[in-house]
């Protein structure tokens, strides 16, 4: 009960933040407020029992989305001209629609109602069958990787396609990416002259990597999995790029390797599906991967989570480098 009150308080802050984001005409400020919005969102997800979702929102919202938006702002300018087009009409439409949606919510089941239609269909079935068929504690991972493996395959390919799309858009024209030429005495790229962030950042990067791997492989037992781990590992590399300059980060993980990661993860996922077909099962039916169906499930889940993680890392890093390189040409 009191937790719900906490949740409502967080929701009020959420609405205020959203209003402020829309009202401000400085895009830089809007991006920073988006960071606060993401923190509030994660806290709300956590209060609503969605630990995995909150972890994903944390991994994406703390860092990566800010970095991407700032990368785009550096190329487009941070000042908005301000004002709205058709303000009254838009306000009218929005108000009327809000009232209609709020009116409609009175027919919805109340928060936490165990008899709600959502809880009558496959949800309880997943919860009931997970221990018997897959035998891992995290039901979210079980549903994500095994029961609804097709969905996740589709999502991974959407991520893949978006990554390829950004590469197409931003590496074309203007002679593509060229090696950056700087005079020798110019201040070095990155934050080399800022000792405190550099020293502490360099010290933390291994821990972020380690934690990313923990989230990747502990995903069967606690909150975590490929999507979160991919974002965390990407955040570590982005931190390295910010501290030492993109050129240095590209020397450590060249673009060609990143492109292989993007394709390789998705391929690994698909390959597991094909492998299970060859072994006599259905596409993405991991039970045939080992003599014991449950062991087969475990192997399948670990491998496809790895594929997801690799693709997400690759795509996020490709996107980051594409924006960074565009600014330098």
């Amino acid at each position: 009960m009191i937790i719900i009150l906490f949740g409502v308080f967080l929701l009020a802050l959420l609405v205020i933040t959203a209003l402020a984001i829309v009202r401000t005409d400085n895009l830089f400020a809007a991006v920073i407020l988006t960071g606060i919005f993401s923190l509030l969102m994660a806290a709300n997800f956590f209060l609503l029992d969605a630990a995995d979702v909150a972890l994903t929102e944390a991994a994406i919202g703390a860092g990566i989305s800010t970095v991407l938006f700032l990368g785009a702002l550096a190329l487009t300018g941070e000042r908005e001209r301000g004002g709205s087009t058709n303000r009254l009409l838009a306000l009218g439409v929005v108000t009327v629609t809000t009232l209609i949606v709020i009116y409609a919510t009175f027919d919805k089941p109340r928060l936490g109602d165990p008899d709600a239609p959502v809880h009558q269909h496959v949800g309880p079935w997943y919860l009931e069958k997970t221990p018997a068929l897959i035998d891992i504690p995290n039901a979210v991972t079980a549903v994500l990787a095994s029961f609804r493996g097709y969905d996740t395959l589709g999502e991974v390919f959407v991520v893949f396609t978006a990554g390829i799309g950004v590469l197409f858009l931003l590496s074309a024209g203007r002679g593509g990416r060229t090696e950056e030429i700087r005079p020798a005495d110019a201040p070095g790229p990155g934050l080399r002259h800022y000792l405190v962030p550099r020293v502490v950042g360099r010290m933390l990067i291994p821990f972020i990597f380690l934690f990313g791997l923990y989230v990747q492989f502990h995903g069967d037992y606690g909150p975590g999995g490929g999507f979160q781990a991919g974002a965390i590992v990407a955040a570590a590399v982005i931190l390295y790029a910010l501290l030492e300059g993109e050129a240095q980060a590209l020397r450590a993980l060249p673009m060609s390797v990143l492109k292989w990661l993007v394709a390789g993860g998705a391929l690994l996922y698909g390959a597991i599906g094909v492998a299970s077909m060859f072994l006599g099962g259905n596409f993405l039916d991991y039970s045939v991967l080992a003599s014991d169906p449950i062991t087969g499930q475990h192997i399948g889940i670990i491998v496809i989570e790895l594929g997801v993680g690799i693709t997400v890392t690759g795509v996020l890093l490709c996107v980051f480098h594409a924006f960074a390189a565009r600014g330098k040409v």
Binding site: L13, L39, A62, G222
Partner: protein
């Protein structure tokens, strides 16, 4: 007792949000966002114990580890912009 800490954290979040809304400069907003991050770490740790599921501390750990990347990114953004500005000034002379 956990509830008292949670309420203190929530109220502080509201105060930080007010600072983020008032500004006046970008950096005040950024400061507020950064405070918000620390407060979220505390909130998540306390709520994990309120729920009796301490294995969810991973979430607070993520924020403790990578929340400062946003501020670093802003520093890099400002530095990049200052570099470009001074380069333009030099070439203009």
């Amino acid at each position: 007792m956990y509830y008292a800490v949670t309420i203190a954290t929530l109220v502080t979040m509201a105060l930080a949000l007010v600072r983020a809304l008032l500004g006046p400069s970008i950096y005040d907003r950024l400061l507020a966002a950064n405070m918000f991050g620390t407060k979220t770490v505390l909130l998540l740790s306390v709520v994990a114990f309120l729920y009796g599921r301490p294995d969810f501390l991973d979430l607070a750990l993520v924020y403790a580890l990578i929340n400062f990347i946003g501020v670093i990114a802003v520093l890099e953004f400002i530095r990049e912009r200052a570099d470009t500005d001074s380069a333009q000034k030099n070439s203009g002379e």
